[in-house]
Point group: D2
Chain length 178, copies 4
Amino acid sequence: MLKRIAPELAVSQWFNTDNPLMLASLRGRVVFLHSFQMLCPGCVSLAIPQAQKIEQVFRNSDLQVIGLHTVFEHHAAMTPVALQAFLHEYRITHPVGVDQPGEGLLPVTMERFQFQGTPSAVIIGRDGSMLHHKFGAEDDMIVGARIASALSMPVPVVETAPQEPADGCADGFCAVPA
Amino acid sequence: MLKRIAPELAVSQWFNTDNPLMLASLRGRVVFLHSFQMLCPGCVSLAIPQAQKIEQVFRNSDLQVIGLHTVFEHHAAMTPVALQAFLHEYRITHPVGVDQPGEGLLPVTMERFQFQGTPSAVIIGRDGSMLHHKFGAEDDMIVGARIASALSMPVPVVETAPQEPADGCADGFCAVPA
Amino acid sequence: MLKRIAPELAVSQWFNTDNPLMLASLRGRVVFLHSFQMLCPGCVSLAIPQAQKIEQVFRNSDLQVIGLHTVFEHHAAMTPVALQAFLHEYRITHPVGVDQPGEGLLPVTMERFQFQGTPSAVIIGRDGSMLHHKFGAEDDMIVGARIASALSMPVPVVETAPQEPADGCADGFCAVPA
Amino acid sequence: MLKRIAPELAVSQWFNTDNPLMLASLRGRVVFLHSFQMLCPGCVSLAIPQAQKIEQVFRNSDLQVIGLHTVFEHHAAMTPVALQAFLHEYRITHPVGVDQPGEGLLPVTMERFQFQGTPSAVIIGRDGSMLHHKFGAEDDMIVGARIASALSMPVPVVETAPQEPADGCADGFCAVPA
């Protein structure tokens, strides 16, 4: 199976973080990205509590848990203001981004990841590849095992693309002019 | 213990019913009235599923299940539009009324019933009295027993207040003028 | 539906009671009789905890909870000695009788009640009739409702069978000799 | 922390396997060893179902699940005959050994592993070391993560201890006498 690199997030508003998150900046770490809607029953009863548990169980690892509010129905009900109240009431403290509205029904990131609905979750490896992609609820033991496997993989040695400095310095190195 | 007659509902908007409900009109039947907020975690995970189960278990009795959306926080998030989407997503089919906003923090019916928060539930007997009043989740077996006990009580013989028709008709009856 | 009077128990050994129990002596009270085997998974995970909860929920009523160990397989494993250890470990404190071994596969009481397997449960009304008969697990809310309904039924006025006293007294009454 | 090599099993009777299992022979694989008693409520409701789930979730790995019946009370009730019926009724299909009775209260293997009671579980790594030791129930997500971590560890290259055969044979090899 060919590795597929996870596409980047497109987020219009962040909660629970001062700085916007980019998957590109998280390269080297494992990311658990879960997509939800605040009025999706399976998200509320299963997927969100599981994401909170994952955050707790792996708190001593370098796993990053990210929530993504991918609204594709009832837009008038699931506004950012409503989401903020929801995050407060459900004690959700990990970073949550509002998926950027798209031109069609689906928001942009949801479209990029080809999520089939909510809840969905993706485990992204240290090398940025999508290790696992799941629509619907998944068993705790299986999720725990998948994340631990991802965490056990070696941090990739990032090969810096060799940049030809015309006649000077780049990346802190200076080339001798030809 | 003195019986306390349940106060009347004050509802600004009804869902899942063509005709507004009045407790006064339900005299003779048992009513299970549950108060909730759509962003209250205990309501969503416990009280609302229980109300739906009650509706199902006692479907062959004359029990009336009524939901009451008693918003006392996050008003901008829990609007009637959001409630409508919520009722749709959670497959709630019994009548739900939006508790009429009050002058203070609490909506009118919530104030009248002196609910301490959400979820709360009241079992109203055939004679209109409050048989049981509970803040928080209650065990299924206990709720089932309470409702069955209430249903087993005799339908009260309603004593019509003797109205002296001066010289005419009342209640569909016409008295012979003296 | 014709009422069917519950047959009598046939018990070879009792636990958790100094005096053997007879359904005939419990006439006037409601009885929850549950049949189990200590190595029956559904009994251990569902039916027995439910019986213990019933005992607790209705502790202020005159309900009598009775367990019946109806062994119809693995006789060498489910001996009275093993049952005693089981009752101790599972903190079962209501009276439990060992169903008397029968001539065939099934023990005597199980045969009389025509239980189809374990767990089974019967609710016996104040008049001794079988109000409800169930093979398998039943929902807590439904069981709670059934028992509360049974408890709400009036205590029957026991009509003493007219006994012809030869020439003397019976039951505290004395007949005038013919 | 110093690694502690798991002690060997002492088993008087095996179920669900034709050949007795030895931890020494399982070196190179990960082992999930769970200790239980058939009349221990926490074992029956939590630990045994979890062991069965582990067996299922990791069926495509080289994990070996082993049950150990460590009877330290109610010996007359928890005999091998009773255990056999129990394994049948609870559909337990992984190898289960009867811990060899000891001189004192505790059976031999339980004593060697210093289990504090039942249920207990140990995860043994590919190199034979005890990676995790737990008395009581553990969360599914955590257990899944621990086992996946253990499975991700490299199979140790067994370094044969260089034995100087004076003038003869050792380990199946014979040295040419000097």
